[in-house]
Amino acid sequence: MGANVSDIASSELTAAAAPAAGNVAKARFTGDPRAFRNLMIRGALLQVVTLGIYRFWLTTDARRFLWVNTEIAGDSLEYTGTAIELFLGFLIAVALLVPFYVLLFFGTLELGLVSQLSSAAAFVFLAVFGQYAYFRARRYRLTRTVFRGLRFHQSGSALSYALRALAWWIATGITLGLAYPWAVASLERYKLAHTHYGEWQSKFAGSGTRLFLRGIGLWLIMIASFVAYGLALQFINKGTFDRAAPTGGENAPSQMVMFLIVFFGTGLFVVAAVVYAILQGIITRWWLAGLRFGPVVVATTLKKRQVFGAYLRCFLYGLLLLIVVSFVVGALAALLSLGVAVTKEAKEIMGAILVICLYVSFAVGFWVIYQLTIKFGIWRMAVDSVELAGFDAIERVRADGTRPSSAVGEGLADALGAGGI
């Protein structure tokens, strides 16, 4: 039957509306941004109503949308996970973590050193365990991803990945971030080397050195900004002492100092934000161009400024939201102060409720903005930028009989990310 089938495939492909384009396949994103926006707004509101329990259903909805609208050479990805799986995985993870939290509770009850040691140990443990959970969660997502009738899957050891990540973090910390490019490259190599599509093995070909060369300028700018900020603060301090004595005026210099500190602080923040957004662009491009699936080589036309634009949009929409929320606060506070009949306590309680409502609405609104501009925005532009060379080989991949993995890893990642304790 095999020969028969491939004959059919090659002869009937065009009839089946497949854009066969030589040896290079294009990916494209087919989803309607408005549909995703509605999904997110409704999901965010339902999360508030259910105090977050809806997140498993929202995550599933979002993944289904993103996967299904990611089309490669005419065929779309498919997400087969279900919200119930995620929810059960989360419950199991909570049960698994109970003994740890009990231990941690007793640890913090101990005196001085033991208490500090136990919180430090807990921090390291949670960090490593978080990476373990991340790797397991990745396995869940890959085994729930189907393309042309075959599943992706992941081999490798989550523990070994977590220890590798820990070692690289330490190295990155010691070198003030200089080791970061090699850290990302090494971790991506591990992840991709253990990623499979049917019998194809993936590979990450991105080089840490190349990322280093692209990012070193940003690193230098950041360091220089920190140094400049420190120097400016010192200069301000010195200046006030020199000047305050002869003039004798106390208010003028201190206001000036406050202004300068806020001014330079804002400057540092803006530089850091811009550097971060540009770095994300560099990393996303570098990561996409480093992907290899079997013989298929990924190339990207993604521009750094596209990614930067996504962050800028997020920032501007967030700012707009902040302004709107502030106006609402002002208007409601004015209304509240007009009410004469109510008692002082009633006013205080109403004020507190008002503040909580506004805080939650800003938090929820910004979450939606972040999902739309950055998560969705970058996914879409990344997919649209991708070209796959050597894609013809896709016709000959065989399944290798792996089964979907459990969702406990996702649950652990969720439970650890939730924090709260």
Binding site: V397, A418, G419
Partner: protein, 381 residues
């Protein structure tokens, strides 16, 4: 009705895309190659609809180990499939009904968690508290003490008022010992007056009691101060320090784990915890009031003194007092103490003297936080 039409078939064994013909049989879906060979036959009962882009009907068998799929893009055939196959499960889809279910069940879960927090946590903690060894509580107290000192101690002068030789200190210790002798406590009380302007007193786990300078200043007689200390001894006797810690941990766990990773979730957790903890503390305070009033009565003193000083200090609570101790509704508490006092009047002619401290002792105690040498020490002899 369309019962046959073009489709794309992925057989789950390779990634090849096969053009095929789908035929809607009576009980099953038959997938045929263009030359008419039967590639697969899927009973309708085993089928599931998987997520797919707009305009594509993607079918597969959810229970099958492979991920074979049939994609129908012909709308007529898709309609025909719907009529023939009946209700087919949409794998992983979150429809209106399941959303309503999630909201309903989450609400039920929230109600259940709140009920557990209101009734379950205090009940469990009440059972567990006596099981905590006294030594553990004292160790815990030492660690809490460090943190409390960090919070309260400005660090400029000795935090605790009065050295051992100070007449005020002697009087204070006498007062505490008289109270302690009448109380049955799980471990010795270590009480001291600290330099804080607020009118307040706190009991830490393990028997340490701090009386703030402001409270000593605002007490009009030894009985009132004794009442406040007796209240704190109530906390020690009931081991409220451990109880509060365990309650807080229980609440953190209950809500911190359940609610979580959504924007604004942190605020929800904090609000929930604050409300519940203040409801716990109301009960705890009422119990300590009862204990304090009873202790005063046992010493032959007037339990009303506790209510009196509560009302007085409630008039001007410092910001710290509000944070450290939830002591709401002083009037209500004083009324409750009065009711207790009426039910069990102070023992007349008990083993004790007419007053807990004589006038010179009380005067020395009022000056406990002044470091100037006391003439009273010599003068009294």
């Amino acid at each position: 009705m369309t019962t046959s039409g073009p489709a794309l078939y992925f057989d789950g064994r390779t990634s090849a895309r096969l053009a095929a013909t789908a035929e809607l049989g009576a009980q099953s879906l038959q997938i045929r190659s263009p030359s008419g060979d039967l590639l697969a036959e899927w009973p309708y009962a085993e089928l599931g609809i998987f997520s797919a882009p707009e305009g594509v009907l993607r079918l597969g068998r959810p229970r099958s180990p492979d991920a074979a799929r049939l994609e129908i893009r012909d709308s007529g055939l898709a309609i025909g499939f719907g009529q023939r196959a009946g209700a087919v499960r949409r794998v992983g889809e979150v429809d209106r009904r399941s959303r309503a279910k999630v909201v309903g069940w989450s609400f039920a879960a929230l109600v259940s968690a709140v009920l557990v927090a209101i009734f379950g946590v205090p009940a469990i903690v009440a059972r567990l508290t006596p099981l905590v060894p006294a030594r553990l509580e004292q160790r815990l107290g030492a660690s809490v003490d460090q943190q409390v000192r960090l919070l309260l101690d400005p660090g400029t002068r000795p935090f605790e008022c009065g050295t051992a030789a100070h007449a005020g200190r002697v009087a204070f210790d006498k007062l505490v010992h008289e109270l302690e002798a009448a109380a049955a406590l799980p471990f010795p009380v270590r009480a001291s007056v600290i330099r804080r302007p607020e009118a307040n007193a706190i009991a830490l786990p393990g028997g340490r009691v701090y009386v703030f300078q402001g409270l000593v200043a605002r007490a009009n007689n030894p009985d009132e101060l004794a009442g406040a200390i007796a209240h704190e001894m109530g906390h020690v006797a009931q081991r409220d320090g451990v109880r509060v810690l365990m309650q807080a941990a229980g609440l953190s766990f209950l809500f911190g784990m359940l609610i979580g990773d959504f924007s604004g979730g942190g605020v929800a957790v904090i609000a929930m915890r604050t409300v519940l903890q203040s409801s716990y503390s109301r009960e705890t305070e009422a119990a300590a009031d009862g204990y304090g009033a009873a202790l005063l009565g046992r010493l032959g003193r007037d339990p009303h003194a506790l209510g009196t000083i509560l009302i007085r200090i409630a008039g001007t609570p410092g910001p710290m007092a509000k944070i450290l101790l939830d002591h709401p509704e002083a009037e209500e508490r004083a009324a409750a103490i009065d009711a207790l006092a009426r039910a069990a009047p102070p023992r007349a002619g008990g083993t004790d003297a007419a007053t807990l401290l004589d006038d010179s002792e009380w005067a020395a105690l009022k000056r406990i936080c002044t470091t100037a040498p006391q003439q009273g020490v010599l003068g009294k002899q």
